[in-house]
Symmetry: C2
Subunit: 284 residues, 2 copies
């Protein structure tokens, strides 16, 4: 395995940029190839078989670009499709659910853990399963918060509207004595401050993307797969610079606009691609 | 052409049910085949070429079911893809933009017309073009309201949150002296009362779906294509009864749940299908 191959990251759209940012911060010597499946976003309201199919197509595309590791940044795809994706490609695949669950269990120390996520992730129960596999006694409450994604993408993260929505979604969770709240969707870190204020500043927030970035760092170290770059190269690295390559399946312009909103900068290298085989329209 | 063939309707998802309802009310003798492309919803943030491709695949699927007329209920697909869809199928295709534009011009009598719609519909300028083709002097203001769709689907149409969102989106429009406000997305009629209160009860609201249903009725009459049914059959017809067939490309359960919220009843006959050719995953 070539150490200097990039790390692949896919997400249903733009939300996975929060995971890219977390990885980039911790692993400045690495290059990244990011795929946002903007033609089929969102995954959070879709079914198991559809999310599996989309996930496999994305993974195969990234594998074909030449990557040393694949990070499934999308919580929904991690929750529903990680085994299917793992079977479909030859490289190692890391999802965001298990790292997020592990970080939550560690910090909650037996107290109740709440998970906020998309409808599909909540329905899958993937976080509860992962948490209870580590600690069968921890109580887990899961809550879907579908409006958080469009609020983040609209740039309304700090609005009065977002606060009302958060108060409504998190109302019951505020009454529980929480040991941790997991941000189980890549968009939610954009609303992190607001969520923290509404849930109470004493409740630790777990960003699954950050937990995953930590895990990827350990993994690369233990497998001696960290990239070798000179100090000078490292000093010059910036978020979204031209060492990282961004692909979208649709609407690159909108992706760049929301990326700017999320990261404060837009990708230097951004390309629209197709990751599925649709050359032959089915005829009836 | 067999008069008793059903009318085909497609939408990006569940929103087109408001158009189905408008058609069903005006044309109780007709049967309908509805396709919601829930595997790829929403279209409103996607690009021209992608919306064209999805629209053509949906249209070909419905044509293959045997229909006498196709209604493109989705405003985004009507705005971006109507010519491409018309070229791809042999049956007559009716979109929602032109009927909505005509109804608005008629009622506004030269005063400014505002159009609220998805990002893609607003960017296309399709409503402004259609309105100015009828009356080049009418001023048109277009405004994207992306949060209205998730608010409607979440069942929050009458919430304080929805009111704050509407006040924010419609603020500038309230200062204009409007002759009409076009609800240029199939979800917006669900928020009709709220939008009416916020914009001012003196501003006529145009539901493009209702305008389209009127147009379809005239069209069928002028072409002598109205279905023949006995009085008894007509008396027994109900919304979503088993004479109408509903297809979705994904997540039928969620569709039924939101349909219940929108129409007060769920489809009797609801089936998940695939409308695209993806049998061969592209290999890299």
């Amino acid at each position: 395995m070539n150490l200097n191959l990039p790390i692949g990251i896919f997400d249903s759209g733009v939300g996975g940029l929060t995971v890219y940012r977390a990885l980039h911060e911790r692993l400045p010597a690495e290059r990244f190839v990011y795929l946002g499946d903007t033609a089929r976003v969102p995954y959070g309201t879709k079914s198991l078989s559809t999310v599996e199919r989309y996930g496999i197509e994305n993974a195969k595309f990234l594998e074909a670009q030449g990557i040393k590791l694949l990070v499934v940044a999308c919580n929904t795809a991690s929750a529903l499709a990680l085994p299917a994706i793992g079977n479909a490609v030859d490289i190692q695949v890391v999802g965001v659910i298990e790292p997020g669950a592990r970080a939550a269990v560690e910090i909650a120390r037996g107290k109740t853990i709440a998970v906020i996520a998309t409808e599909a992730t909540v329905q899958s129960g993937a976080y509860a399963k992962a948490i209870n596999q580590i600690d069968p006694h921890t109580k887990v409450i899961e809550r879907a918060c579908p409006l958080f994604v469009p609020l983040a993408e609209e740039g309304w993260a700090n609005s009065a509207v977002a606060r009302s929505v958060a108060e409504q979604y998190l109302q019951n969770l505020r009454e529980a004595d929480l040991g941790a709240l997991v941000l189980g969707c890549t968009h939610y870190p954009i609303l992190r401050d607001l969520i923290g204020e509404v849930i109470g500043t004493d409740v630790p927030l777990i960003d699954s993307g950050e937990a995953t970035a930590e895990e990827v760092r350990s993994l690369l170290e233990s497998k001696q797969l960290r990239a070798s770059q000179t100090t000078r190269e490292l000093e010059e690295r910036r978020l979204c610079d031209d060492l990282d390559h961004f692909y979208v399946t649709d609407a690159a312009e909108r992706f760049a606009k929301v990326a700017e909103r999320f990261l404060g900068t837009a990708p230097s290298v951004l390309e629209a691609v197709e990751v599925w085989g649709h050359d032959e329209l089915r005829t009836y």
